[in-house]
Symmetry: C2
Subunit: 417 residues, 2 copies
């Protein structure tokens, strides 16, 4: 690690004063015991902040959590996987509110101190009859060693949990920042992650925390893509409970900048882990655009390349097909001059001034055959740059996403539709 | 056919006074005899019009043909498949010009009366040494019965040629409109087709022909998508040679409106055929958006749904997953109100007012399991509508597009890179 951060074990309960728990209540699959309902709780009052999907179709829990954050600071997050509680109308809103309400009552909190997050299939009513019997157990199981349970309970098509934590010194005190995230599908900038929970024991002011989450999300979760689909449930929440006993970190201070940097560092680890564990992904590809006339153009080019089905298919095949890359550059909507464009795989030029370079294609092929490589597109027009972490598109991704119909059948069996 | 058009045999040589020919010169594959170089020629001077890709990276033949059309009317089109002559720099421009020049000389035309079209791999130099020995044969083979040869010579990953022709009466004279097209991959609105050549023996004025091609392309080739990728080589060309002997069709006249309608009819047949024959496509899906606040919103929603990897994967699996459809509506950028949205598969409602309808999921599943169905998304906000013809995304599409590396190896063997 090239930064003054100490990697810690654990994730969302690595910071002091945070407890976690998770149970299996059969939302993912009634006949499996996979964890699918989880709780994060702070023993102390928190400063909190959140960022949510920019999809105009917003799941009920997103609306509820946004609403709670507007007037109160969170102290708990209840979350389920297996059902997104999206496009579920007034009943869905009632269900999400009830999840917050019951949790609050059992924890002795106000309802608005509890955020609700859901992830899974869109459009099916929440099987509340599966959740209801488990609230008590969930609260009873709260423990500072259960952060990993939370990380496992929020995943859906992810193949493994994603958690990360660090500590750093601020104002002479050691503070901790840790979190967990889930991704796998419907991953695209604005926002990319479906769910990410971060906790810290830093004592931090509202202005600094609001600035830090915005900046950190912009640098991390808004720079990843798997399939170009923005979900209805994306939520990033940060809870800061001050248990580290540091002097208040105020907005605009040097310490606030340090905190923001550290938060970005943690989120970046989680964001990259989401891409690496994307649905049936075999490659992690950094798409770096530079030399753009302005940052909007740089972003357009990076997004067009990172989301092109043809480009992503060629990555899957280990094919150094720069022709498909430049064709996506061309339709990105950015200002370009074809004859100024250079494209490199790692440090090897594939396209120079808009035409095939002298590099031996075998050298390029070896790079694209690796599980991780970087594509640099230099537009040669200006100074603006942007990068996105992307993945290949595999036949297995399509196969994996062909049908969620089993969920509908289960919902019918449950009398929900 | 519900229109006063008579279906004719043939395609691009169905109209009077047009000849075609094609030869195999080994651009697609040096060891195969697949046709890959073709010529269309009018015995008479023509009125002509063209529309080209909106990709800012334009292949050399696109630049050359656009340039020719600016000052002259076309009388011939030379076209090759297997190499797009895109991103090939000054040498590529020279190659494209030389294809027009040699063709013009052999036909006794001015260079600017010849359009050049290429389709295939992007970024590799044109194997001109393969083309050069075949110009004479190509011209010698010109025949009014060789329209089908042209249709077969322009296809790449298409599984079959696409041609269509009709006749209709205008001003008491029978006129003919016919054409051929190729598609298969890199298909997205603006423009969708990679290549489409239309000929007609109508006697038609410049204003009418220009209006007609713009209107017809907007209604047809700009409303299809396979993979959301806009190619560097898309070209639609229309040549009208007046051999039918009708009175001149002037811009703004009733006859011009009839001609435009007929041209749209022909292009629509070809556009739909392109989607049906998209790379490894198994479904033809009409995405109809209505009730939008304005036409730009209607188009945004149709495009987002028609291009979502997750939506297209579910079509492949025969899964009536309206949740993924509404999630794409939400991120389309259009004004929406979730609680007003209705989504139907054919005539059966899947989503009503933003939530699951009462329709039995099995009924919906039966519709999506068909090779062809229609999705109607009613936003409930206004009167604007838009439709797009789309396809599913199959694991086989990705597998098929994993590598074009064999072309690079061949180019290396040829000393071109």
């Amino acid at each position: 690690m090239d930064l003054p951060y100490k990697r810690m074990k654990g994730g969302v309960c690595a910071a002091r004063g945070f407890l976690g728990s998770a149970v299996s209540c059969g939302i993912k699959n009634p006949s499996s015991d996979r964890l699918d309902l989880s709780l994060i709780y702070s023993k102390h009052d928190c400063q909190s902040a959140g960022m949510f999907t920019q999809n105009r179709v917003k799941a009920a829990p997103v609306r509820v959590s946004q609403n709670h954050l507007r007037t109160e600071n969170l102290r708990a997050i209840i979350s389920n996987s297996g059902n997104a509680n999206a496009c579920t109308g007034p009943t869905g809103m009632q269900d999400a509110k009830s999840m917050a309400k019951v949790t609050a009552r059992l924890l002795g909190l106000r309802q608005r101190q509890v955020a609700v997050c859901s992830t899974g299939v869109i459009g099916l009513p929440m099987p509340m009859m599966r959740i209801a019997p488990h609230y008590q157990d969930l609260v009873a199981a709260l423990d500072r060693k259960k952060g990993n349970d939370v990380a496992r309970a929020i995943i859906t098509s992810d193949t493994h949990e994603k958690e990360f934590a660090i500590s750093l010194e601020l104002h002479g005190k050691r503070i901790r920042i840790g979190g967990c995230a889930k991704g796998a599908g419907m991953i695209n900038p604005n926002m990319a992650t479906m769910l990410c929970f971060i906790t810290t024991d830093a004592h931090i002011g509202k202005t600094c925390l609001d600035d830090a989450i915005r900046e950190a999300v912009d640098q991390t979760f808004n720079r990843i893509t798997i399939d170009g689909d923005t979900s209805t449930n994306d939520s990033v929440l940060v809870l800061a409970n001050g248990a580290a006993g540091n002097k208040l970190i105020e907005g605009g201070s040097r310490e606030c900048a340090h905190f923001c940097h550290a938060l970005t560092f943690v989120m970046n680890k989680l964001a990259k882990a989401i891409v690496r564990d994307g649905e049936r992904v075999t490659k992690f590809v950094t798409v770096m655009v530079k030399g753009a006339r302005n940052s909007s153009d740089a972003r357009k080019v990076a997004q067009a390349v990172a989301n092109s089905s043809l480009v992503k298919s060629s990555w899957n095949g280990g094919d150094p097909n720069w022709g498909r890359i430049i064709h996506a550059v061309g339709y990105s909507g950015a200002s370009i001059r074809e004859e100024l464009i250079d494209i490199s795989y790692d440090s090897k030029k594939a396209c120079s001034g808009g035409v095939q370079s002298k590099t031996n294609p075998e050298v390029l092929r070896n790079i694209v055959s690796k599980p991780e490589f970087k594509i640099t597109i230099d537009l040669g027009l200006g100074d603006a740059a942007h990068h996105i972490y992307s993945s290949d598109l595999s036949p297995e991704y399509v196969d994996f996403n062909r049908s969620e119909y089993a969920y509908w059948k289960q919902a019918k069996k449950d009398g929900l539709v």
